[in-house]
Amino acid sequence: MKEFVKIAWRNLGRNLRRTLIITIAIALGVWGVLVTIAVYNSMAFQMVDNFIYASLGHVQIHIKGYTKNPGLRLCMTDAGEILQKIKGASHMAGYAPRIYGFALAQSPRTSQGVMIVGIDIAKEPTVSRIKKFIKSGSYFTSDDEPVVLVGKDLAHKLKVGEGDKLSFFMQSFQSEEDVVESFRIKGIFSSGITELDKMMVYLPIKQAEKIMEMQDRVNEIAITVDDEKNLELLKADLKQRLPEQKPDLRVEELKTDLDGKPVSLLKITKSGQDKMILAPEAFGESFKLNGNVSMISNRLFLPMAALHKNRLGKDSYLDLELIGVEPVNENRVSGIFDRVQIPSDSWLQGAEMDKELEANKGWVVLSESAAQALNAVPGDTVRLDSGDKVLSLQVAGTLKQGLDGPGEKPFALMFRQDMWRTFISQSAASEVVLRLKENSDARKTGEELLAGLSLEVKDWKELWPVLAQMTSIMDYTNYVLLLCIYIIIAFGIANTMIMSVFERVRELGILKAIGTSPRQLFGMVIMESVMLAMIGMALGGLASAITLWVWDRNGLDLSMFEAGLAAYGLPTVLYPVLTLKNILTAVIMAFGIAVLSAIYPAIRASRLLVVQALRRI
């Protein structure tokens, strides 16, 4: 073996000029391939890096369905507990909770739809470069400041700058109506990613919680990993730490409506001691994502003392069950408001009861038994007293039957939002009733609804597949390029080896005559080719190493293409990125090509007819 290597090696030295030309060609090829791959990789890497550290993070946690249907209300309702659970996850470099809400930003000159992001001012810089992106002004210094950071392009569009005031119209968690809030611009940021610079407005999470009513609720937790290669480990650990994060809910099927007709309803209640479902709006938002759900009603039950002073000044007192509902939703689920009886002179006469009651607050509908006990008729005012809170409401009508059918127990219906705001100060429901579309499988839907409340842990590739696809497209481009260059090299090597074999026919004939086997001759020619490739690769590798070293020290300044690069989220100075896999692929392919291109000449050499070869001069 060694001797054949020696012969092959010395053969290369026989036609030094030819050997030199082909090795330089291989070297240039390898150099070109490695440097080009490094440029492509650099672009892909920087692009991904920029997206990840601009806002994406490596991993995000949401409630199921959020990524497809983002919305303020589709949120994690016990953020504090979740954050506590993920703390200390292995390979986690940083984590930050975020609240996302759509808003209309209004400047003195114009208005623009924006995305408001409430960020934890201390934690956010551990997952994103927001602090470094600030081009004018400064980052938040306190949670209590009513200030925002605005993207460069957005500021430009709204014609505002640092220190100016912006008004925002946005929805809050609880109310359907817009809230309006003004903030001063503390800083203008430029992430280099057009989408973000055009859309984003950051404000301290405390401020977002306050105006959007999101206490202990977040839409997203962004997480960064210490090293990209540990991503799967981190994800696995997070998933383990957040096992089926879903509240203790129970689903029950209701098969008939108030008239006893068959119907498909699901009732969701909370089991356990604390039977109140807090922030049912968040669950409702998740339930709505299920295609079988047609309507949702939140019902809040509270025992209450009701007082009525009749026209004669006589007080009547009754313990009843106060039920809070949203009239339109409730009516579509149960039809109860179609059953409210009103006197002929009522202001509700001729109106659609549910819509009218939804628009006018301050009413109460009493069960007939309650009305009798209280001696109250529509138009009278009833005082509801929980012990420490009191609410006076006007009786709008009466009902013969309750939500669970005809019952003896006295009750009163009122607007749920007023009820919780007065008596329990946070949104809650005792039960959530859902009307399902016809022919849906109630049991299966119920299971799906509960499963839908769990959390999902997704990495950036799942969150932004386009980005992942672009990097794999870059990979393919690399391989195609590699292949093109190597095919050219292959012909160069093949040509050299064919020449070399034909020049030495006689010599190879002698080798064969004195006992060298065809296999050994074949191997010798292949060996020569591999050596050519090795020298070429060594030279090319050296040239690449020098090029990349210089590049790495100085960076590749592409500021003349700034606008184009920014569209892809790329910085103007690129640094080379070359993976071991890239290098190995280049090397292995070069060897493969060297062997393949020498096969034909090698076969020719091994099949030489000695007598004919010896006759050659």
Binding site: R14, I510, K512, I514, G515
Partner: protein, 228 residues
């Protein structure tokens, strides 16, 4: 049975529509230790016969045995092994491997035979020294004269102690003094080591050195005489 025996060997070269009878039925025997010259005019079939005996070419017809082994029945790879272990070649144009030194050229056969490094080196150097090439062992063929190259070629042909050395006009490219020395050397090897030599030649000096002369004409043996 003789050491080497041929039986009705013919070789017909077909070129276009013309068939040339290079050998037309050669029956020939040789015993171990012979020092024999095949002679005859150009085109009489000397080289062809030598090539067939050495397993480099196959006859069109006839059979050939070398030390009880029927060579004409061997496959290509078996022929390759036969050449490696039993036959040594000396060519008219020396045909050393140009990229190897004298020593490496001689060693090459032993490498193919997988002789260990120490032994093959010793054997090769000893032989080269014996043939008066001690000073040249690290020279490449291009740095040697024709006579020196041919002596290295002889060393290469006998280093593995083959049963038969075939030499195709070994002196054709040498001056008479060098040719004389080479023949003396081979005769000595024949005597000392008992190696069988078969030459093809039309050099009278070679014939003079040979103990048996076989004349070929038009592919047939026309004369076969033992010299005293």
């Amino acid at each position: 049975m003789a050491h080497l025996q041929t039986q009705g060997i013919t070789k017909i070269y077909q070129e276009n529509d013309v068939a040339t009878n290079a050998l037309a039925g050669v029956d020939f025997k040789m015993d171990k230790g012979e020092f024999t010259a095949l002679f005859g005019p150009s085109g009489s079939g000397k080289t062809t016969l030598l090539n067939i005996i050495g397993g480099l070419d196959r006859p069109s017809n006839g059979k050939l045995w070398l030390s009880d082994q029927e060579i004409t029945a061997l496959s290509d790879s078996q022929l390759s092994r036969l050449r490696l272990f039993k036959v040594g070649f000396v060519f008219q144009a020396y045909n050393l491997i140009p990229v190897l030194t004298a020593l490496e050229n001689v060693e090459y056969i032993l490498i193919l035979q997988r002789v260990n490094k120490k032994e093959r080196r010793e054997r090769s150097i000893k032989l080269l020294e014996k043939l008066g090439l001690g000073q040249l062992i690290n020279k490449k063929p291009t740095e040697m004269s024709g006579g020196q190259q041919q002596r290295v070629a002889v060393a290469r042909a006998i280093v593995h102690l083959p049963e038969l050395v075939l030499a195709d006009e070994p002196t054709a490219n040498l001056d008479s003094k060098t040719a004389h020395e080479l023949m003396d050397m081979m005769a000595k090897l024949n005597e000392e080591k008992g190696i069988t030599f078969l030459f093809s030649t039309h050099d009278p000096m070679v014939m003079e050195h040979s103990r048996r002369l076989v004349e070929l004409r038009d592919g047939k043996i026309t004369n076969d005489q033992i010299r005293n």
